[in-house]
């Protein structure tokens, strides 16, 4: 082929060169269309994936109800649940009390906490264009924990309003952390991974120091409870507190889900996203706000549980692809299931004593993450 100026060229040559690019016959075209359909997310794949994951989550949660100091069979726990659903209570036998008042709230809480942390991780990773982003690693969880600790110290946390004020204080702390992290990272234009992680490490150090200061001036009985909470625990709160948590999560989760298509485009970078019609500033603020809200709500009840927000989205993305419309809800389901499983380990491995679930997730998730990094040598991130 020859290079010719397009203005001075004869029309005959124009047709000739155009013919080179009109690819193939109708048969070929239909197969090509099909191949593209399979390479993008379809409604069918979304429904099938989500249903499969939902069924798997339910199975894991059912299995988790079975484990504990008291041996209660799967059939028994299923019977108790059904009875409770039908009549509103499950009688007074000890198995019913254990399942409904001890294990079920704990499993539900674990599912919500894990799901929220994974969803926040997905949002932060897209926004910061960084597959290592995680509310725990970036110091957002410790910001939220600091907010909650201040609330407890000032006595706001022990009043009747505790249900709503504690998550709110944690939300403010988390938002503060997220804004600082983003300011540090954004001052270099393109977000360098190491700068971001470093900012998180330093924030974590500062917030931890402040939390330890607060713990040290508290009365020893309360400070022990706070230490246990900080290590990450799913010891279930009261049902009213759970309902409040559900409200926070439903609101935050819906807002985040509503932004998923914009999150897809934001991974291209802010300028590209804007050129494709995304109102970048609005989306950014929404995601920051929602992430802080979810993190605050979760941290205020379960303390600092790490690595769920980093490992789960990462692993899910490898399997189902990067489209956030599926990645976000799928990660939430997988994250919830993962934390329920981790908590089952935490309360059975040294039964009747239990270890904080944050330790289990860090010990399980950390090495898994290192393995993922090594396995993908070309590295999403490094």
């Amino acid at each position: 082929m020859r290079i010719t100026g397009w203005k001075n060229e004869s029309s005959k040559e124009t047709e000739g060169s155009a013919a080179v690019f009109s690819v193939g016959n109708p048969v070929e075209q239909s197969t090509l269309t099909a191949s593209i359909e399979h390479s993008v997310l379809s409604a069918r794949r979304w429904v099938v994936t989500m249903l499969t994951l939902a069924v798997a989550s339910l199975l894991v949660m059912m299995a988790s109800l079975r484990f504990g100091a008291e041996e209660i069979g799967l059939a028994d726990s299923a019977r108790i649940l059904l009875q409770a659903l039908r009549y509103g209570d499950a009688g007074t036998d000890s198995s019913g009390v254990i399942i409904l008042q001890v294990r079920l709230p704990r499993v539900l809480l674990g599912f919500m906490v894990g799901g929220s942390l994974a969803a926040v991780g997905v949002g932060l990773q897209a926004l910061l264009r960084n597959p290592l982003a995680d509310p725990y690693v970036l110091g957002i969880s410790s910001g939220a924990a600091l907010g909650a600790a201040v609330a407890i110290l000032l006595g706001i946390g022990t009043t009747v309003l505790a249900i709503t004020t504690l998550p709110l204080c944690a939300f403010v702390g988390g938002l503060m952390a997220i804004v600082i992290v983003y300011r540090v990272a954004a001052s270099y234009g393109r977000l360098p991974i190491h700068t971001l992680l470093l900012a998180g490490v330093i924030l974590n150090a500062i917030f931890s120091a402040l939390i330890m200061f607060i713990t040290s001036i508290m009365d020893p009985n309360r400070s022990f409870g706070m230490m246990f909470w900080l290590m990450g625990t799913l010891a279930a709160p009261s049902y009213p507190a759970m309902v409040a948590l559900v409200l926070y999560l439903v609101v935050g989760g819906s807002i985040l889900l509503w932004q998923t298509q914009s999150l897809n485009l934001l991974t291209l970078g802010e300028e590209s996203a804007r050129s494709l019609g995304v109102e970048v500033e609005t989306v950014k603020k929404t995601v920051f706000f929602t992430s802080a809200l979810l993190t605050g709500a979760v941290v205020s009840v379960s303390g600092m549980i790490g690595f769920v927000g980093m490992v789960i989205p990462h692993a899910v993305r490898m399997v189902i692809g990067a489209d956030h419309r599926l990645l976000l809800p799928a990660s939430a389901l997988v994250g919830g299931t993962f934390l329920v499983a981790a908590d089952t380990v935490a309360r059975t491995v040294l039964a009747p004593a239990e270890i904080p679930v944050g330790i289990v997730t860090a010990l399980g998730g950390g090495p898994l993450f290192i393995y993922l990094l090594l396995y993908r040598k070309s590295g999403l991130a490094l």
Partner: protein, 294 residues
Amino acid sequence: MRETEGLGNRLAYRVERLRFRYRHDRDRQFGKGNEWALKGLRFEVQSGEVLGVIGPNGSGKTSLLKLLSRVLRPQEGEIYLFGSQLAEMSQDAIARLVALVPQDSRQIFPFTIAETVMMGRFPHHRSRGRLFGFGWEGPEDIRLATQAMKETDVAHLAHRSIDNVSGGERQRAIIARALTQQPQVLLLDEPTAFLDLNHQLEICMILRRLNEKQGLTVVLVSHDLNLASQYCDRLMLLKEGEIFRLGPPEEVIRPDVLAAVYRCEVLVDRHPMSGLPRVTLPARSPVRSHITEQ
């Protein structure tokens, strides 16, 4: 629907007194904060025209493209897109008229090529209110994306992950994404920088075909003076944020003009086929230095 009413307007862009400077903290720290990247540009782009923007590094070419797509906003001056004030339009309304192919399109997340191209449908989805952009792509979207991918020769890569293909393949996918936007104006920043010779030619052919058959307006930034000379109706030569020369290639690609802007001597002759100006860097003296030393 103000923006579609203006489509009959023969002017794609009218730019007046455009002044712009970056406001990063980092730049201010180095005392560059007060320097204008663009110093009062005034020009027009005809609908259906191919305008090439050339100039040395740091002359404001990329900034200009970003201003024209409102990725950045100017401090002073006005930009009119098909008669409407760009500053007043919504971001997705702009994206339905203007597509930008940026210089740097690295992606760290494993989106498939097809998913990346399909992102070009985003501004159209928003307008139709499909669940605020959460809705699925329809058969029409898939048809448009397929067509664009065939034109840029990436259809066979549909399932491949964008973080796992060569720079040239990625660049062609990004151009396919821009075509999938179905824009009236295509802005390209160094579109051929990563491409090998045959794909450079292919991209130029595609641009030319879209320009001739669909009346697509093209504004392209290029370091390649020969490519700009061959394929553009008019050239805008920028120097330190100002328009040094704006006109047909014959008036811009001249030894005296280029020497004044680039501060080096070049040879300009005629392309053997098109008769358009062609730039050649001066060769070394034909007598090799090490031979004369001996």
